[in-house]
């Protein structure tokens, strides 16, 4: 009982990037663009904010840089996907690979290491039930609620959703599809940038080349699991984060050291199981992933 409570609070930590990445991607996908480069954005933002924090010791600045990194990647992906009508999945895959490579190069160049950067100053934590929780957790939840409000209760959100459901009809009603999709992509990537920054300067405390470890893709799974609804994404992020925390917890408390690796499988299989069971019934935005070509 005691331990379960610990676990429940621990889950709040891995939840944050999964939530931010998912909410960002929900916005992007609701407008009709798919960005699987979230993983890459996590890596790049984690990197840039760690670097900035290392040299300036300024957390706010570092977070800002993380956001901007995300935005820039969003601009690139947006141009490729929306205006050049390139293949969105391939672009995303390329982004991920690129980010991974850049991460390693920077590690080597700046800090002469293949694995981890030196520790950087992290965001100060709030203590809840004897366990440190980052303020970013609450910010992330607030962002999710705001996103929900934006998408479902405002005219702008209505127009954005129309782009993802039926761009032809939306354009007939006066929506500038290209512009909306481009902006949605940038916004989504920016949120992912925040998630990435969180990884290095909030959670782990340093940059490692494996810092993301597929979390970008778990965030994508969360998008589908939440049925493209930011509020449900909070729950999903918590569930997936729980798997993550469970793995860490088990590997700490278990007697066999090698079992740790097996526990690390839990978040991935858990995600897959959740997706396989629940997602079959999800409603994908009808026009997702298809470049809009005016007749």
């Amino acid at each position: 009982m005691f331990q379960v409570a610990d676990l429940l609070v621990m889950a709040l930590t891995p939840m944050v990037p999964l939530l931010l990445g998912a909410v960002g991607e929900i916005i992007t996908e609701r407008s009709g663009v798919v960005n699987i480069g979230i993983e890459g954005i996590f890596l790049l933002s984690a990197l840039t904010s760690a670097v900035v924090c290392f040299y300036t010791n300024n957390i706010v600045l570092a977070l800002l840089v993380g956001l901007i990194t995300g935005s820039l990647v969003g601009v690139l992906h947006g141009i490729i996907s929306v205006y050049l009508r390139g293949d969105q999945i391939v672009s995303g895959v390329g982004l991920n690979l690129f980010a991974y490579g850049v991460g390693v190069i920077t590690l080597i160049t700046l800090w002469n290491t293949f694995g981890n950067s030196p520790p950087v100053k992290t965001v100060p934590k709030i203590i809840i039930a004897r366990y440190p929780v980052s303020p970013l957790t609450f910010i992330a939840i607030i962002i999710a609620v705001l996103a929900w409000f934006f998408l479902f209760k405002t005219n702008a959100g209505l127009r954005l959703r129309a782009c993802g459901e039926d761009p032809r009809a939306a354009e007939a009603m006066g929506v500038n599809i290209m512009r909306v999709r481009f902006l949605a992509t940038i916004l989504g990537a920016t949120l992912a940038g925040l998630g990435g920054a969180y990884l290095s300067i909030d959670w782990v405390g340093q940059f490692t080349k494996e810092i993301s470890a597929g979390r970008g893709f778990i965030a994508l799974a969360n998008v589908a699991f939440s049925n493209w609804n930011p509020l449900l994404a909070i729950i999903g992020a918590y569930i997936f984060g729980f798997f993550d925390a469970l793995a860490i917890y088990l590997s700490i408390t278990s007697t066999q050291p090698t079992l740790a690796y097996l526990f690390k499988v839990i978040p991935y299989l858990g995600t897959l199981a959740v997706v396989a069971i629940f997602v079959g019934r999800a409603r994908i935005p009808a026009a997702l992933g298809k470049p809009y070509i005016k007749e």
Binding site: N155, L158, R159, E165, D166, R168, A169, M173, G174, A286
Partner: protein, 502 residues
């Protein structure tokens, strides 16, 4: 003619497309205030093109438009909307997963800043005024088509449309919904709104309109006061009385029935019945022409025969064997060929001729262990090229580089060269130039002479009349009449195709 002032004047509108097609050859249209004006014509007559020009979607090559007496130049639908013109297309511009209210809000959001509650209020006021109700909080996709159409009308009126254009509005409605629509239109007329009603259906145009402009092949054939014209008059104007190029053909040597269709019921992609109890026999050595305006169940009918669509009820018998709902590849191999109405479906445009040639009868090109016998395929490809006079540089040329006519020849040639016993040809000359058209038509006659059974599905009356040994007219999924060509005048065909029992 009414003495009310003209609200729309279109003068000498010409439209030539970049590829040379002439859609409109100098059309004049005058619509007067508060009337319901019918725009009547067959497929391809130019009705929709004319209205799209009026709505600002496309620009005319020549000609002028005046609204309320003032000359206008629409750069896009937005200018037209501002001028008070609203358009309701056959395929609605509604986001189906949104609610009615969301769609209305979306439409309004581009014009003015307005809150959702304001939209609701305005919508309810309008609905009261017009006299129909639409559930504002229901998802569009859950609504009956007739109700969806009302949403479109509501949308247009909320944007202050004084002129409403409806493109083939009844083609998607049930008879009861049609009645409701007419009630609504009469109410709109009372409200002072001018309506343009595009259609090919004679009965309806007689019921609802005040004036009718008849178009044929891009020209105005006549403008009449509805009460002055009979359905027969209208039919005659619609289909014309020009001399058709006669294709010399010997009288048919009809053989036995080879394909028998009994009481067929088939659903369309929306789940509605598209074929409602069709019974037909196809005999060897004949061309049976299935005439009808596009969208009356022809496609679903053809697809059901070859197994591409489920047969809900009924039976299909081929050479004594029941082939209802059998797998498509089996049916092709048994000797039924299907030439679909779209080349994009019948061919893989990205592949070359060689690869396309084996598409529908792959089994006959397979050797030991499912190996493809490319040599046999090459022989076959050359045979197709030679026999059907396909102009292509090589059999390795991707089909997309061929002209439309040559593509069609490949499609037709591939199906015919395998010596099928039954050929279902849908719109075989659609979009082809005169030369290719004549070629394909004489080919069909030759095939008939050699004993093949041909089901010709076409919206082109000339084609049907030229080629058929028997004609069947399909309307809303039912056969209106079957008989020999001598039993049908062009007028009668026009009436039947328009749903009138004649």
């Amino acid at each position: 003619m009414s003495t009310r002032e003209p609200v729309i004047e279109m003068e000498n509108i010409v439209k030539v497309y970049p590829d040379g097609t002439v859609a409109l050859r100098g059309v004049d249209l005058i619509v007067r205030k508060g009337e319901i004006h019918g725009l009547l014509g067959e497929n391809g007559a130019g009705k929709t093109t004319l209205m799209r020009i009026l709505y600002g979607e496309i620009k005319p090559s020549r000609g002028e438009i005046k609204i309320y007496g003032k000359r206008v130049h629409f750069r896009g639908p937005w200018d037209a909307i501002k001028a008070g013109i609203g358009m309701v297309y056959q395929h609605f511009s509604l986001v189906s997963s949104f609610t009615v209210l969301e769609n209305l809000a979306l439409a309004m959001s581009s014009i003015t800043k307005i809150s959702v509650s304001e939209v609701r209020k305005r919508a309810e006021e309008l609905m009261d005024k017009i006299g129909f109700k639409v559930p504002l909080d229901a998802r569009v996709e859950s609504l009956a088509v007739g109700i969806q159409q009302r949403v479109e009308i509501l949308k247009a009126l909320m944007r202050n449309a004084r002129i409403l254009i409806l493109d083939e509005p009844t083609s998607v409605l049930t008879p009861i919904e049609v009645e409701e629509l007419f009630k609504t239109l009469k109410r709109l007329k009372e409200m002072g709104i001018t309506v343009i009603f595009i259609t090919h259906k004679l009965k309806e145009v007689k019921v609802i309109t005040d004036t009718i402009t008849v178009l044929r092949r891009g020209k105005v054939v006549g403008v009449v006061k509805t009460s002055d014209a009979s359905e027969a008059d209208l039919a005659r104007m619609m289909v014309g009385r020009e001399v058709i190029l006669e294709i010399k053909k010997k009288p048919a040597k009809e053989g036995k029935t080879i394909l028998s269709i009994e009481n067929l019921h088939v659903r369309d992609d929306r789940g509605l019945l598209a074929v409602k109890g069709v019974t037909l026999d196809l005999r060897e050595g004949e061309i049976l022409g299935l005439a009808g305006v596009q969208g009356n169940g022809q496609r679903e009918f053809a697809e059901a025969i070859v197994g591409l669509r489920r047969v809900e009820k009924g039976k299909i018998t081929y050479m004594g064997e029941d082939i209802t709902n059998k797998p498509t590849s089996e049916i092709y191999m048994k000797g039924i060929a299907y030439i679909p109405d779209s080349r994009a479906i019948g061919l893989v445009l990205e592949m070359d001729l060689l690869n396309n040639s084996i598409l529908t009868r792959l089994k006959s090109f397979l050797g030991f262990g499912k190996k493809i016998l490319w040599n046999k395929a090459k022989e076959f490809s050359y045979k197709v090229i030679k026999e059907f006079n396909v102009m292509a540089e090589s059999i390795k040329t991707p089909i997309k580089y061929l002209s439309g006519g040559n593509q069609q020849k490949v499609l037709v040639g591939r199906e015919v060269a395998t010596e099928p016993k039954v050929i279902i040809a849908a719109e075989p000359t659609h979009g082809l130039d005169v030369g290719a058209t004549e070629y394909i038509r004489s080919l069909l006659v030759k095939l008939r002479d050699s004993g093949k059974a041909i089901l010709l599905i076409s919206t082109d009356l000339d084609e049907i009349l030229q080629l058929s040994d028997r004609i069947a007219v399909i309307y809303e999924g039912k056969i209106m009449a079957i008989g020999r060509p001598e039993e049908f005048t062009r007028e009668r065909l026009g009436l039947l195709m328009g749903g009138v029992n004649a």
